[in-house]
C-alpha cells in the first residue's frame, strides 16, 4: 500500500444469500457489491454516488467492516496502525472501531430521545474506555461540541428540543468524539432542508480540514458531491463505473451513465427545459442482473459486445478510470 492511501480495496465483493435455489449447485446470491478496486487517499473527501440499489451504502458498510465481505481485501493504514479488514482479530476490530466512524442519514432516528445531548456525545468514549475520569470525558465532549457549534446550554437538553440541522450537528459530534481517522457519512444531508444543508456541508468540510480526517461521503445528490468532495466514484448495480477527481469528472464525464446522471439534474434555468439526455427504464433488480455490461439495458450506445462482455475499470495515469467498452470512440464526436 502506498503511503498516502488510507483505505485500499481490492476485488471487494459483498454477496448476500437468497432463500431457495436447488439443493445442489450454487446457492442464489444478491451481488450487492462486486469486484471493487478503490483507493481512498489520506485526508481526502471522497464522494460515492449512485441511485438507490447501486450498492453505495453496502460498500460504505463493508469498508467499516459492518457488512460481510465475501471476497477480496480491504487494507487500512493510517501511519499508526495497519490492518487487513478481512482478517481482523477481536482486539484489532476494537481498535478499528475507534478509528472509523459512521454518520447516519436521519438525525431524527439516530439519536436516543431518552439521553441528554451530553450523554449521546459521551457514549462512544465511555463505551470504548478512552478517558479515565468523568472530568476528562466532559472536557472531550465540550471540545468536540464547540467544534460542531453546539454550546454548553445545548448539552443539557434532550434531542427533541433541536431542529434537523442541530440534530445532525449532534450526530456529527458523536461520530467524531473518539477522534477517528476515517468517517463514512451516509446521505448525511439528504434529510435536511436546502438552507440548513449548506450549513452542515460547510461544517463537515471545516472539521475535515481542521482534524485531517478522511471522509467517504455517500450521496445520491451529484451537485452536493460536486461542491464538497475532491474525488468521486460513481456506482451502478454494485460496480464502480467511473472514478475521477471531482472537477475532471464533472467537466469531462466518460461513462454514458455518468453523463446521463449529470444531465438528469434539474437545471435552475427555466429555458433549459427538455435539453437533458434522458435515460429509458430503471435500474435492474440486483437479484436478476443483466449479462455483460450492467448498464447495457439502459445505455443508448449499446452494442452486442456490451451485452456479452463486462467491461473492467481501466486504469489511467490521470486518475480518471472508467468501465466502458466504447468511451473513447464516444468522446470523439
Amino acid at each position: 500500500m502506498s503511503e498516502d492511501v488510507l483505505i485500499e480495496a481490492r476485488d471487494l465483493s459483498v454477496h448476500y444469500p437468497l432463500r431457495g435455489g436447488s439443493m445442489f449447485g450454487p446457492k442464489p446470491v444478491v451481488k450487492a457489491v462486486e469486484s471493487i478496486n478503490l483507493d481512498i487517499g489520506k485526508g481526502s473527501f471522497f464522494g460515492l454516488v449512485g441511485e438507490s440499489g447501486s450498492g453505495k451504502t453496502t460498500l460504505g458498510k463493508a469498508l467499516l467492516q459492518a457488512a460481510p465481505i465475501t471476497r477480496g481485501t480491504v487494507g487500512y493504514n493510517d501511519g499508526d496502525v495497519a490492518f487487513d479488514l478481512t482478517k481482523l482479530t477481536p482486539v484489532e476490530l476494537k481498535e478499528y472501531r475507534k478509528r472509523a466512524q459512521l454518520i447516519f442519514q436521519d438525525p431524527y432516528a439516530a439519536l436516543s430521545p431518552r439521553m441528554t445531548v451530553r450523554d449521546i456525545i459521551a457514549e462512544p468514549i465511555e463505551v470504548m474506555g478512552l478517558t479515565s475520569s468523568r472530568d476528562e470525558t466532559d472536557a472531550r465532549v465540550r471540545e468536540i461540541a464547540a467544534k460542531c457549534r453546539l454550546n454548553l446550554e445545548h448539552l443539557r437538553r434532550f434531542p427533541h428540543a433541536f431542529s434537523g440541522g442541530q440534530r445532525q450537528r449532534i450526530s456529527i459530534a458523536r461520530a467524531l468524539v473518539s477522534q477517528p481517522q476515517f468517517v463514512v457519512a451516509d446521505e448525511s444531508v439528504a434529510a435536511l432542508d436546502v438552507s440548513i444543508q449548506a450549513d452542515v456541508l460547510n461544517l463537515l468540510k471545516e472539521i475535515q480540514q481542521e482534524m485531517g480526517l478522511t471522509f467517504l461521503f455517500i450521496s445520491h445528490d451529484l451537485s452536493v458531491v460536486a461542491h464538497i468532495c475532491d474525488h468521486v466514484a460513481v456506482m451502478y448495480l454494485g460496480r464502480l463505473v467511473e472514478t475521477a477527481p471531482t472537477r475532471e469528472l464533472f467537466s469531462n464525464p466518460r461513462h454514458p451513465y455518468t453523463k446521463a446522471l449529470l444531465s438528469a439534474i434539474p437545471s435552475l434555468d427555466p429555458d433549459d427545459r427538455g435539453k437533458a439526455q434522458k435515460l429509458e427504464g430503471e435500474i435492474p433488480s440486483p437479484t436478476n442482473q443483466p449479462s455483460g455490461c450492467k448498464f447495457h439495458t439502459r445505455c443508448p450506445f449499446v452494442t452486442d459486445h456490451c451485452r456479452k462482455v463486462e467491461p473492467i475499470l481501466q486504469h489511467s495515469r490521470d486518475g480518471h478510470e472508467v468501465a466502458c467498452h466504447r468511451w473513447e470512440e464516444l468522446m470523439t464526436p
Binding site: 440548513i196 449548506a198 451537485s223 460536486a226
Partner: protein, 332 residues
C-alpha cells in the same frame, strides 16, 4: 386563459396540545386552466397544508378563518369549497374535479388490493362507467403513462412495482377521472434523478394533453424551474414572493428566496462557496411578530421588520414580493 382556482385569504390554525398554532396565514393565489404553479418552501412552511386545504383534507383539529375563501371554477359554475361539509358534497371535489398525488407512492396504494381494482373502484365511484369499461380505461391510462405490459401490471399489487413504476401508476390513477386540478405533493422527491427526469417529462406531456391546472409542491427549486409556469414561495405559513417562474428564479426579490437560491449547490460553478441561511426555521408555536423571516434575515430595514407584517409590492406586473425593502418610499 380561463380561471380555474381562486384562493383568497386562506388562514388555517391547528388546535394542538401545546396550543393553537398558525399553519397558514393569509395566503392568496390564483391558477388558470393548463397552468402549473410551483409551491416552494422548506419543511414546516405550510405548503402541504395549503394544498390540502384546497380539498379540505386537513384533520379535524384544523380551524379555517371566516375570511378564507376557496373557489373552484367548473364548467357548470363556481364551487365554494369552504362551504362543502358532508362527504357526499365533497365527492364532487375529492377524486372528481381535483386529484392528488403524494410523495410516497407505496403508502398511497392499499397494499392488499391490486392496482387495477383500486383504479376501477374510483372510476366507478366518480363516473358512470361499468366495470368492464372502467377496466379498459384504467389499462389505457397505465399504458399512457409509460407502463409497459399494462394488462399484467393491472393485476399486480403495489409492492410488485418499482418506485418509478408505482409513481407512474399513481399518476395514471389520479388522472383517470379527468380532474380539472391536480395537486402533486413532492411527487418526485422519493425518486432517483434519472427516474425523476422521466416523471417530470411525463407530467409536462399530460398537462398539454389534458389541459388541467397543477399545483406542484416541492422543496427543489430546480424541479420548479423545469416544470412550473409560476412560483409561490412560502415561509412559516406566509407567501413571501410570487410571480412568473423566470422572474422569481432569475431576479429573486425576497431575501429568503435569494438565500434559498444561494444555498443551492450549482453545477456550473464549483468555486462558489455554499451559503447557508443563518439560523433555523422558528417553531410555529413561536412565530416572530412582523415579517416572519426577520429572525434570519440579512437585510433588515429597521424596526418595521419586527413590528409590521409586510404587504405585497409589485416588482413587475407578473412578480410580487412581501418585504419591507420594497415598501413605497423605502430606500433600496
Amino acid at each position: 386563459m380561463t380561471r380555474l382556482l381562486d384562493v383568497e385569504n386562506l388562514t388555517l390554525q391547528f388546535d394542538t396540545d401545546e396550543g393553537r398554532i398558525t399553519a397558514v396565514d393569509n395566503v392568496s393565489f390564483t391558477l388558470e386552466a393548463g397552468e402549473v404553479m410551483g409551491l416552494v418552501g422548506e419543511s414546516g412552511s405550510g405548503k402541504s397544508v395549503t394544498a390540502k386545504s384546497i380539498m379540505k383534507l386537513n384533520p379535524s383539529n384544523a380551524i379555517y378563518s371566516d375570511k378564507t375563501k376557496v373557489t373552484l371554477h367548473l364548467d357548470d359554475g363556481p364551487v365554494d369549497i369552504m362551504s362543502l361539509q358532508t362527504s357526499t358534497d365533497l365527492k364532487v371535489i375529492r377524486g372528481g374535479a381535483i386529484s392528488m398525488i403524494f410523495q410516497e407512492p407505496m403508502a398511497s396504494f392499499a397494499p392488499a388490493i391490486t392496482i387495477g381494482d383500486q383504479m376501477v373502484e374510483q372510476l366507478q365511484i366518480h363516473t358512470d362507467m361499468n366495470a368492464k369499461r372502467a377496466q379498459e380505461v384504467s389499462i389505457e391510462m397505465l399504458d399512457r403513462v409509460g407502463i409497459s405490459d399494462a394488462g399484467t401490471r393491472f393485476k399486480q399489487y403495489a409492492f410488485e412495482l418499482s418506485g418509478g413504476m408505482r409513481q407512474r401508476a399513481m399518476i395514471a390513477m389520479a388522472l383517470s377521472t379527468k380532474p380539472k386540478l391536480l395537486i402533486a405533493d413532492e411527487p418526485t422527491t422519493a425518486l432517483d434523478v434519472t427516474i425523476q427526469a422521466q416523471v417530470i417529462d411525463l407530467m409536462k406531456d399530460l398537462v398539454k394533453d389534458f389541459g388541467m391546472g397543477i399545483v406542484f409542491i416541492t422543496h427543489d427549486l430546480g424541479v420548479i424551474a423545469q416544470t412550473a409556469d409560476k412560483v409561490a414561495v412560502m415561509y412559516l405559513g406566509r407567501l413571501v414572493e410570487q410571480g412568473a417562474v423566470r422572474d422569481v428564479i432569475r431576479n429573486p426579490a425576497h431575501p429568503y428566496t435569494k438565500g434559498l437560491i444561494a444555498a443551492l449547490p450549482q453545477l456550473d460553478d464549483l468555486d462558489v462557496p455554499l451559503q447557508a441561511i443563518p439560523g433555523d426555521i422558528p417553531s410555529p408555536l413561536e412565530r416572530p411578530p412582523g415579517c416572519v423571516f426577520n429572525t434570519r434575515c440579512s437585510a433588515i430595514v429597521g424596526d418595521v421588520c419586527s413590528s409590521a407584517i409586510p404587504s405585497f409590492s409589485k416588482i413587475t406586473d407578473s412578480h410580487q414580493v412581501a418585504c419591507h425593502l420594497y415598501d413605497e418610499g423605502a430606500s433600496k
